[in-house]
Amino acid sequence: MNHLSSETFKENARAALADVQLRGALKNATSLFGERRRQAAAGLPNWEDLRSQARAIKDEVLLHLDRYLEEFVANAESRGAKVHWARDAAEANSIICGLATERAARIVVKSKSMTTEETHLNNALEAAGMQVVETDLGEYIIQLANEPPSHIIAPAIHKTRRQIGELFTAELGMAPTDDVDQMTSTARMKLRDRFAAADVGISGVNFAIAETGTIVIVENEGNIRLTTSLPRLHIAVMGIEKVIPRFSDLDVFLKLLPRSGTGQRLTTYQSFITGTKRAPQDEGPDELHIVLLDNGRSRMLAHPVTRQSLACIRCGACLNACPVYQQVGGHAYGSVYPGPIGAVITPQLMGIAKAAQLPYASSLCGACREVCPVKIDIPQLLLHLRGEISPRKGSAAERLAFKIWARVMTSPSLYKLSSVAGRILQRVMPISRAWTSGRDLRPIESKSFHELWSNE
């Protein structure tokens, strides 16, 4: 069930619902992450203040994004980094392939980056003749299986340990086992060999600090530290929305991100990288290149509702909270960004025509808004996008129906008549099959409230 399309969400979702194993895995993952997030948030008495503060910082950045980007670039470059601007995915991939090819690179190690998933960088690097190795354990698993990620922070959440064991036996020659420690150590050995040989390390970026030109990357495994330390060339790829103004702003974001993502107080490692190494004998790459990707992001600035999409810090909390994601999982969305945030970002990035079903993949229950660490009003965004999808005026039949509805509702006698008519009509004709195919429509009571009241 790999590489599905956003255009066929309904079919994808139906297939996912029939997959018993997938639904079991999703139930475990989303409830565990959800509970850990709840406990972690409860452990900070000023959680709500932190959320408001984080959102205010993001709003401040987004309203002056040009200025903060220029400040970030100037500071990063003054400390030895080289910054590249990419208008779209093709331009980003061509810059990165160019950098690698110019240095005769053959082996590329990557740490987890949603932005390079978005640009399909691996395909471009492979087409340029390079071996690309994903080094985050979850990403490594799905790379071996040739599948896209199904969760923002747990990419292989849809696979069982047995499936992963079989995959490692087939692809890596591991002795058959479903012991997690054994599998982890097999991956460690295989990947160490690739780290030692790699010419280029490619990472994502969690936060880019305008004030100092620093990039901050968070993780648990240690593969980001290896990716950004061992190869001679480090390329960091970030969306233009990742910039924050001040170093001290990290306090708020480093409290919110790990607690919202995995329920940790801090992830195991945070790397703060500011330019290149200062003395030649120091550890670290000789060159740092930072690629700033637009790819449709600047368009989202044009409206306060869509602009919120750019506040996202990719924690994955809205996925775990969403009753739709909990049932259908990540692949059904046909996008590297699944779940509620994926349903609003994907149509904006890919073009609304290519993902027109996604804004409807929600019951608008608001659970995503409740857990979002930067208070993105995702239901408001979903409605906004639905408004762009549906033609402003409905069909002639729909307009007529609402005209009649308005007439009936504003006249007591017609209203009384309609409740009697409704009781009869409901029995003799099916009402709105689209509505009733997935749920029951309760029968209208045999006596209306008015009738009961006058009988009293």
């Binding site: 895995a25 475990n28 993952a29 565990l32 008495p45 000023n46 203040d49 408001s52 503060q53 205010a56 709003d59 994004l65 220029e70 590249h84 601007w85 208008r87 985050d136 354990l137 979850g138 747990a154 292989a156 696979k159 992963i164 997690v180 420690d181 982890t184 460690r188 160490r192 648990n220 495994e221 240690g222 530290r225 290896l226 330390s229 061992l230 233009i240 001290s248 480093l254 995995t262 107080r265 801090l266 195991t268 490692y269 790397s271 703060f272 990288i273 500011t274 330019g275 290149t276 190494k277 200062r278 120091d282 550890e283 670290g284 637009d294 600047s298 368009r299 600035l301 044009a302 306060p304």
Partner: protein, 192 residues
């Protein structure tokens, strides 16, 4: 080419922002500082390290404790951050020993600064990492540590370490020591 991409993206940002109606800004409530219930950062640090599966020893004789741990581990090949191996030989050591320039009590975090700790991979690649930190270098909160880092020109690489390397990518089952160490020992030098 690159200049035109830069101008084009900045231009697009400015055009779209100019087209945007004014917004209701979220009120900025200064986040209330969390009052720590404990007033002893050294013991709180030890508790926090242990909560993330690390070992923590508070001592006034760090050298003795280090020697004892190395002897208990029967470590033969030891990499020191101030006398490091070549980057690619780093894969062949039993233990890495580093210092830390600061530590955070509320999270059990070590702060390694590249201006002092030039070879931070000794804290990552060998299966065991032993870190020595002065008791006086332990600050209470993340905020305190960030403020400390800003007191001078920021170093090219700063690494925060909280516990041994971990993953839960297979069925959310915790596995310790995926790309980094399986064991983390922190020696708090109470004499400094």
């Amino acid at each position: 080419m690159n200049n035109s991409a830069r101008e084009s993206i900045l231009g697009s940002i400015r055009t779209h922002l100019a087209a945007s109606p004014p917004v209701d800004n979220y009120p900025v409530n200064p986040a209330n500082p969390v009052i720590l219930s404990k007033t002893d950062p050294v013991n709180q640090f030890k508790e926090s390290v242990e909560a993330v599966s690390g070992h923590c020893i508070i001592t006034t004789n760090a050298t003795n404790v280090l020697d004892q741990i190395l002897a208990d581990l029967n470590a033969k090949r030891i990499a020191y951050s101030d006398n490091p191996p070549n980057a690619h030989d780093i894969f062949h050591f039993d233990v890495g020993v580093s210092t830390a320039q600061a530590a955070i009590a509320e999270t059990g975090t070590l702060v390694l600064d590249s201006s002092c700790e030039r070879h931070r991979l000794v804290s990552l690649v060998p299966p065991v990492h032993i870190a020595i930190v002065n008791a006086s270098a332990i600050v209470e909160t993340l905020d305190d540590a960030l403020a400390l880092l800003q007191q001078k020109e920021i170093s090219s690489a700063i690494t925060f370490i909280t516990g041994p390397s971990r993953t839960a990518d297979i069925e959310l089952t915790l596995a310790i020591g995926v790309h980094g160490p399986q064991e983390l020992y922190v020696i708090v030098d109470g004499s400094k």
